[in-house]
């Protein structure tokens, strides 16, 4: 299939408290389907999808982590080398929002400084049960320099956008040179096959990929 041709691989991780819908978001993004009772994740799970950003085919390699506190020791080892981190909370449960700062600390400490962190308020379809306002979360995101969207894995609203916006940001970072592809843990791999229209400005060594 033609879609197997891609120029980059971006590594993503999805983090957040248990039951906020991390796996559901991933499933919605990769399968375009909603799983009402998504089995809970033990350790990590994995999903991929190829998207197109600025005419470039990009393969997203998404690591979906277990949310329970006890698994943090395990999931922390997956932060390394992620180009994007999707931090998810549940708009109907304030406790999941309250824990964001601890997730953010982990994400900042364990990824490289150029990792794009995206905040997602999931379950936006459950308006009547809302516990966290959009404004409040937006302020949190702005204060911490995060991009923020409220999404719904159930209806699919903003799911696609969240993943693709993150990819766009990463791609921009590559193009303006702030994300060094040669860095060991950039989270981006470039396919060595010549991609016809790679416009990477004047970065000469951009195609050697990362060492891992």
């Amino acid at each position: 299939m033609a879609s197997y041709n891609y120029s980059y691989i971006f590594k993503y991780i999805i983090i957040g408290d248990m039951g906020v819908g991390k796996s559901c978001l991933l499933h919605q993004f990769t399968e375009k389907k909603f799983l009402p009772d998504c089995p809970h994740t033990i350790g990590v799970e994995f999903g991929t999808r190829i998207i197109e950003v600025n005419g470039q085919k990009i393969k997203l390699q998404i690591w979906d982590t277990a949310g329970q506190e006890r698994f943090r020791a395990v999931t922390r080892s997956y932060y390394r080398g992620a180009a994007g981190a999707l931090m998810v909370y549940d708009v109907t449960r304030r406790s999941t929002y309250n824990h964001l700062s601890s997730w953010l600390t982990d994400a900042r400490n364990l990824t490289n400084p150029n990792t794009t962190i995206f905040l997602i308020g999931n379950k936006s379809d459950l308006e009547s049960q809302r516990d966290v306002t959009y404004e409040e979360a937006k302020k949190f995101a702005d204060d911490n320099g995060l991009t923020f969207l409220e999404a719904s894995a159930k209806t699919g609203a903003n799911v696609e956008e969240s993943f693709i916006e993150t990819a766009k940001t990463i791609f921009q970072n590559i193009q303006n040179g702030s994300l060094d592809l040669n860095a060991a843990e950039s989270g981006v791999q470039q396919k060595t096959q010549p991609a016809p229209a790679v416009d990477l400005g004047d970065k000469p060594a951009a195609n050697s990929g990362c060492g891992c």
Partner: protein, 436 residues
């Protein structure tokens, strides 16, 4: 029962009255057909008749897929050469009129057919005009193959076909449903079309017979395979119940290898629970009372924290703090940790309905929701130093599928008491590092 379901009365020839055994001539003919077929079916009485298995098997097999279609009366009487089988069916179901023997669906189906078989038998003896018409129709058979993959469309399709046969009068068109869901009907050509010539009709009938033969052969093969499998399972069960289970301890001491070998063949479902319980043992000497005590304790805990608004959010934070403390290797955190891990009892409700969701039994309102929740909650209070860890629910649910609630708790507690499980579930870095 489908036998009592309203069968659309065949039109025009007054079959509804002659269908009852009041008309002498028709009963006479009926009895002759039945006697010829009883001889073949009586030898098979008791168990599943061999020659019928194919047909019955077909119907029972299809019972789930096209339940609606089989429940719907099939006003498509059997074709002549199928007549013997169908009326054999009618004998077996006719003897117990309510059609409440073993294969209810099969007999129900057969009953519909047989009813039609009888009525068509009657039709032959009906007034001459009808007979003439019937003769004409009988010459115009056509094979009709219909897919019934989607049960929603099949009943309408069947009904449409049925409607066809109705308008043309009473003709023979057995509906045979293949195991793959394909429905084969040898149906007559509609009356408004020219009559089919004899050669074509014969050819199509032969084709139909070939198809049926193939199906029967396949069915026989399948049956033989199943019988063999059943026998193997039967042997396994006998070995488990007579040799291993009665003297488990002795067996495990003297012939552990043999038991392990037996396990590798797959433990038959009906002894699985017993084997698991024995294999897991009860070194912890947990009693049903203990389970109930911990369950009550857990319920009280949940109620207490539910009463104070937002109480467990704080506790969750405490869990995080404790985990961080242990990660730093702080010894004083252990007590705090064990206390706060008990708070993970609140997390259980998030995961119960997400356990094997495709089975649809652990969801809220499902039959196993409460028991799974109870087992996990009791365990958290039984081992507050371990608490609830995501993944436990899969283990507990698997146990619940095979043993009752108390036994599942006993089994879970003993299983998780093994050093490896305990190490991993407590994220005991010393233990984990040995294995990773």
């Amino acid at each position: 029962m489908s036998s009592s379901s309203p069968r659309p009365p065949p039109p025009s020839n007054g079959l509804s009255s002659s269908g009852s055994t009041s008309s002498t001539s028709s009963t006479a003919s009926n009895s002759t057909t039945t006697t010829t077929t009883t001889s073949s079916s009586s030898t098979q009485a008791g168990g599943r008749p061999v020659s019928l298995t194919t047909l019955l098997g077909l119907f029972t097999h299809n019972n789930n897929a096209s339940n609606s279609s089989s429940a719907q009366p099939q006003p498509t009487p059997p074709h002549q050469h199928e007549h013997s089988t169908s009326s054999a069916n009618s004998v077996s179901s006719g003897s117990s009129d309510s059609a409440s023997n073993g294969a209810a669906a099969a007999t129900g189906h057969g009953d519909d057919n047989s009813a039609q078989g009888r009525s068509s038998g009657n039709a032959i003896l009906s007034p001459a005009s009808v007979q003439a018409k019937l003769g004409k129709v009988k010459r115009a058979f056509s094979t009709l193959v219909k897919r019934t993959d989607s049960p929603s469309t099949s009943p309408t399709g069947a009904a449409a076909a049925a409607g066809d046969t109705h308008t043309t009068g009473n003709s023979h068109s057995p509906v045979t449903i293949l195991p793959n869901g394909t429905q084969i009907t040898l149906a007559p050509r509609p009356g408004n079309l020219p009559v089919k010539d004899k050669a074509e009709e014969d050819r199509q009938r032969r084709q139909f017979e070939v198809i049926l033969d193939n199906v029967k052969r396949k069915e026989d093969q399948e049956n033989r395979r199943n019988e063999k499998k059943d026998k193997q399972v039967g042997d396994l069960i006998t070995r488990w119940t007579t040799e291993v289970l009665p003297n488990w301890k002795h067996q495990m001491r003297t012939s552990r290898k043999a038991v392990e070998e037996l396990v590798w063949h797959g433990i038959p479902p009906n002894v699985r629970g017993k084997v698991w319980l024995l294999a897991a043992g009860n070194d912890l000497h947990i009693t049903p009372d203990l389970y109930h005590i911990f369950l009550t304790h857990a319920r009280n805990k949940l109620r207490a924290t539910n009463d104070e608004e937002g109480g467990w959010e704080v506790n969750e934070d405490a869990t995080a703090a404790a985990a961080a403390a242990t990660a730093n290797g702080s010894g004083s955190a252990i007590l705090h940790n064990s206390l706060s891990r008990e708070q993970s009892v609140h997390l259980i409700s998030l995961d119960v309905s997400r356990t094997f969701p495709h089975l649809c039994i652990f969801q809220k309102g499902g039959p196993y929701y409460d028991s799974l929740r109870s087992v996990l909650e009791a365990y958290v209070c039984y081992r507050p130093d371990v608490g609830y860890v995501q993944g436990m629910s899969f283990l507990a649910s698997m146990l619940l599928l095979n043993v009752d609630v108390v036994d599942a708790f006993i089994c879970l507690a003993n299983l998780l008491n093994r050093p490896v499980h305990l190490g991993f579930y407590r994220m005991d870095t010393n233990v984990v590092s040995v294995f990773v």
